[in-house]
């Protein structure tokens, strides 16, 4: 048996498609964790990144936060939180948010800094307010890069939400962790395939977002 047999057997088995442990339920849970964590992380990181980027201050502090955030192992945080706080959503959301904040924060800051200064000066010269400059000139120009920061945050959450199953939560990691314990390799491979597919779907969603949200004038070429 090779990988592809495992994958096709997993998806052909009707038992995997319904009920409490069915693929739709698990995908739903995974999507829910991802959206929740990404939402919280964006709520924290976007405003800070936009404002610091606009005024061009605090870059070194942000770089430090990024290294510190990256240095904290998510798996360890997850288990530590579970042992200290008990089971629940808080202990899963905290590590996921800590994981996603640094890329969003740093990329947003860099995106705002990399906006061509001459249109910004022109907007100021035309008497636009600071908020106007920020939201109508800098934000649209920085959007492609900001989206790529959100994208890497989202991908990281999708990948890492797998680990939530280790502390008795749902999501697609359930198949991998349960399968490993039950020595049911078909389940393990099926779960891994689903997670990989979901990560690729996330890439696709952000590609589409970029197409719709980014004005044609600032779209990246190549």
């Amino acid at each position: 048996m090779n990988l592809f047999h495992f994958i096709s057997d997993f998806f052909r088995d009707g038992a995997h498609w319904q009920g409490y442990d069915g693929i739709p339920t698990r995908v739903g849970e995974h999507v829910q964790y991802t959206l929740q964590a990404l939402g919280i992380a964006a709520l924290i990181a976007l405003p800070v990144g936009l404002v610091t980027g606009h005024y061009g201050r605090g870059g070194n502090a942000l770089a430090f936060i990024a290294v510190a955030g990256r240095a904290l192992p998510t798996f360890g945080l997850l288990v530590l939180m579970t042992l200290m706080v008990g089971f629940g959503m808080v202990n899963v959301m905290t590590p996921l948010v800590i994981l996603a904040v640094p890329p969003i924060l740093v990329t947003t800051y860099e995106a705002m800094r990399s906006v061509d200064p001459s249109p910004v000066d022109a907007a100021r010269g035309m008497g636009m307010s600071e908020a106007g400059v920020l939201f109508q000139v800098e934000l649209p120009a920085a959007l492609p890069l900001i989206l790529s920061g959100l994208r890497s945050g989202a991908i990281q959450i999708v990948s890492t939400a797998t680990i939530a199953a280790y502390v008795s939560l749902g999501g697609l990691g359930r198949y991998i962790i349960d399968g490993l314990y039950q020595r049911d390799y078909e389940k393990v491979v099926g779960g891994a395939t689903l997670v990989a597919a979901m990560a690729l779907a996330t890439l696709a969603v952000f590609w589409a977002l970029g197409r719709f949200a980014v004005s044609p004038g600032v779209r990246r070429h190549g």
């Binding site: 870059g59 430090f64 990256r70 360890g76 042992l83 890069l145 890497s152 990948s159 797998t162």
Partner: protein
């Protein structure tokens, strides 16, 4: 939390605390080194043949999107529950950071500089090794920093596929034996290792680029709105 037993490593790990650190560094750093060895020629090819760069970026981005746990699990069928199963994905992830970093670094070398080197009689090989690479060092080190730090934290996930996580196994044991101090030990040790490795790379950059100002910016100067910053951030999971 039982502070007295902070360094009391369960015997099933068959390592001391320092032993786990050694194991962890080996599992985390060898892949980054392998990634560097592979990405140097790969990036050079991408610089030489421009059409090659977009597909290479695409393939690495897609491979990067495969979550580490899933990647480990898919490899078990071929490499078994060994260190190699953990190190192959980490190598792939480091490629994703290093290739764009090196390509951008090498491409950022000014034409005048290249022309001057050519006029001084440098052949293509010498020009690459003695002019382009040294100028690209800051970008390469920036990539190495991201790859190293995330690699150190990702090794711990290896614990989930059967005791291949070095310090991550300590986290696993913390959960099994309900000893939170072990998880805290693992988290703090990994964080310190990552920050030390990061600092060490900064020192290496200073030694390799004596011509740069001592207090250089930690982030590359924001004159390239494109791939560089985004690609670097992409690898931080």
């Amino acid at each position: 939390m039982n502070w007295d037993r902070f360094f009391d490593i369960p015997s099933d790990l068959q390592h001391s605390w320092l032993g786990l650190i050694g194991l962890h560094l080996r599992e985390a750093l060898l892949p980054v080194l392998a990634g560097l060895v592979i990405s140097l020629p790969l990036a050079q090819l991408c610089v030489r043949f421009r059409w090659l760069y977009p597909p290479v970026l695409w393939v690495t981005t897609v491979l990067y999107a495969i979550p580490s746990l899933a990647f480990f699990v898919l490899l078990i069928d071929y490499t078994g529950q060994t260190e190699l199963t953990v190190m192959i994905p980490l190598t792939v992830y480091s490629l994703v950071v290093l290739v764009p970093a090196i390509v951008d670094g090498v491409r950022s070398v000014p034409q005048e500089t290249l022309a001057a080197a050519k006029a001084m009689g440098f052949g293509p090989v010498r020009r690459y090794v003695q002019v382009q690479l040294p100028i690209a060092v800051p970008a390469i080190i920036a990539g190495l920093r991201v790859a190293t730090v995330s690699s150190i934290s990702l090794v711990s996930v290896g614990a989930l596929i059967g005791n291949q996580g070095a310090l991550g196994n300590l986290i696993n044991d913390a959960n099994i034996y309900n000893r939170p101090e072990l998880a805290l030990n693992a988290v703090l040790t990994m964080a310190v290792l990552a920050i030390l490795a990061d600092g060490l790379l900064v020192v290496v950059r200073m030694l390799l680029t004596p011509w740069m100002p001592r207090r250089a910016r930690t982030t590359p100067k924001a004159d390239r709105p494109d791939a560089a910053a985004a690609a670097l951030e992409d690898a931080a999971r």
